[in-house]
Symmetry: C2
Subunit: 369 residues, 2 copies
């Protein structure tokens, strides 16, 4: 969350009151608007958005690849289709001209705002992230499609590794920690190759990125092939993943941190996160407050939740705000979802310490996809 240097519908003061410790902003979006130099002129990301806790920026690569491809194919991260050679029909792309061109030096892409042409290289990505001023920055990599063939994924991985070396040689500020990113698609030997190559380099932390396969099982396998072989002293981040079920599966396999827009996106569509003891919990692990059953429901979302929303408002009022398309609905439910997610991570941590992680996981994931 924090895509365009704002967590949608919340002020940074509200975020701090909720207890949020850090957020991720997208280099791609900020590079296009307002522009990296403009962010620096505003005092850098922290000062500009008035957020004085940690900020992570991604490399810009994921959006440069996926927003170009998404224009053509309309697909996303898990099970999605990114630009790649193997799956394309001979002679070019399915519809119109590609918005993305990858070569061994970098990627050329078109702005989704005005169609202008831009280019990211490992050096420019790190330079932009340095200009933005985030604390945690990511190496520039190519994120391949789950549908990419072996040959293309292997070629792309080699490119990502050459880019990794260039990222490490690019100047960054002393307070900036650089994450290396492990790619390799859903191919065990390529994932292993990524581990072998990347763990020998002097990263401050490791991130697992790219295609996580087409199914949840693929995703778990990718983690199993990767995480056990990472240096134990380095933090491990899982990029762009954050559904409740994925957090359990990720933590179980050794992931420390996640980033995802799901808590606030769910909130704006009336999906509020609740525990397994709630009736009518959807397969997302949420209540859907748009359902008619909440029209006269005079209880808070979760009576045990300490958040501003749960201590002051009824489900019936939230249902009414969604029916009236009022902005406040998204704000109040975002406050709840972020609070619920932070509570869940604390609960998971304490369950791990007390040896009851499996029981907690099974109860939370009952009925959830």
């Amino acid at each position: 969350m924090g895509t365009r240097a704002t967590v949608k519908a919340l002020t940074p003061l509200q975020l701090a009151q909720i207890g949020v410790q850090g957020l991720l902003a997208n280099t791609y979006h900020l590079y296009l608007r307002p522009g990296a130099e403009e962010v620096r002129a505003m005092g850098g990301l922290h000062t500009m958005m008035n957020w004085h806790r940690p900020i992570m920026t991604d490399s810009g690569g994921f959006q440069a690849f996926s927003l170009g491809a998404a224009k053509e194919h309309g697909v996303g991260k898990l099970g999605g289709v990114f630009p790649h050679k193997d799956a394309e029909p001979p002679g070019g792309h399915r519809s119109g001209e590609s918005l993305v061109k990858v070569d061994n030096d970098g990627v050329t892409f078109r702005s989704y705002i005005d169609g202008s042409t831009h280019r990211f290289t490992p050096e420019s990505s790190i330079a932009i992230q340095r200009t933005l001023g985030a604390d945690l920055i990511l190496a520039f990599d190519e994120c391949t499609s789950p549908l990419a063939g072996y040959d293309y994924t292997a070629e792309s991985l080699e490119r990502t590794h050459q880019w990794a070396l260039r990222c490490l040689e690019s100047p960054r500020d002393p307070h900036q920690s650089l994450y290396g990113i492990l790619q390799g698609g859903a191919y065990p030997d390529l994932r292993r190759q990524a581990v072998d190559f990347m763990t020998k380099l002097p990263w401050d932390a490791m991130a697992i990125g790219g295609s996580l396969g087409e199914t949840k099982e693929d995703f778990h396998q990718v983690l199993d092939w990767t995480v056990p072989h990472l240096p134990p002293h380095l933090p491990r981040h899982l990029l762009g993943i954050g559904q409740m079920v994925d957090i359990f599966e990720g933590v179980e396999r050794g992931i420390d941190t996640f980033d995802c827009v799901i808590p606030t996106r769910f909130a704006r569509t009336a999906n509020v996160m609740v525990g397994p003891e709630f009736s009518h919990r959807t397969r997302r692990g949420t209540l859907n407050l748009k359902q008619a059953r909440y029209r006269n429901d005079h209880s808070p979302i979760d009576p045990r939740c300490p958040c501003y929303t749960c201590t002051n408002f009824h489900r019936a009022y939230l249902h009414f705000l969604f029916a009236s398309k009022e902005i406040l609905a998204g704000t109040l439910c975002s406050i709840h979802n972020l609070t619920a997610l932070l509570s869940l991570t604390r609960e998971i941590r304490s369950a791990l310490e007390q040896g009851r992680f499996q029981a907690l996981k099974e109860s939370y994931l009952s009925g959830v996809d």
Copy 2:
């Protein structure tokens, strides 16, 4: 502001922190959704929306008349066209069937939500407002068009006066103060007739409503014909008016309180209220933060403003948030506009005490429509 029991894009906590003392919610909207009984079941308006300072509700009449008419004519309050006989072509309405039918007992109208038919009478309006539980409630009246002829306005005024008697006889709760509403269009003898009739009745406070003429001059005349003849010990409210210039003109003529969505509506369209000392102030008394000149403007909206927005964010960041269509833009600018409006009313009060009201008014209104 507070139309649908929420001040758009702000939590009640933020409103209280700004120093907002009271708000107005619309009976018409709340009657249609969630429904008056549903609001009562949620503990009444104060508990439902978690706002424990004064709430005013209007009678529902204004929207019942104007939303019906607005569907046909697309017009508003000042210089607008409401349903009336004189201005209609013989034989009926210009387009389709009218959504509003007025008779001497009340008004029948169609829901803008689902087209269902509903009816307000003086008794039902007060009963609904009692059910909602506001502190300050308004008599049920007919709001005529600035274009209504003399005959229709006179007939309507007589109806409003009969309705006033019925409102006073309708049961309300002891904590509810009832405002009588003065109508009479832009006709001096009808306005005088309204004053004569209404000031003899036992209202808790007086409100000036209805057509205020077609021009600002008409509006000032209506106030001049009315306010000097009101009982000096009763609060005077001016309904649905709240541009900065109108606040000066109203206060000068003896108005105590106003209600209007303008501060928050302006905020959501990037118009932020500033004093006369600011360059590039628009004819609305605002800066328009969407203008390119603010793209690299690293100053707060108003360096002397104590609000959360001005103490923490640059104009350039707000410009960027508007360009990105981010919800936070409206929230932050609403915080500023409400703070600026409250500061202005304090400044006006102190200027009145110190005999420099005219100088303050002239400086604030320079260049403003």
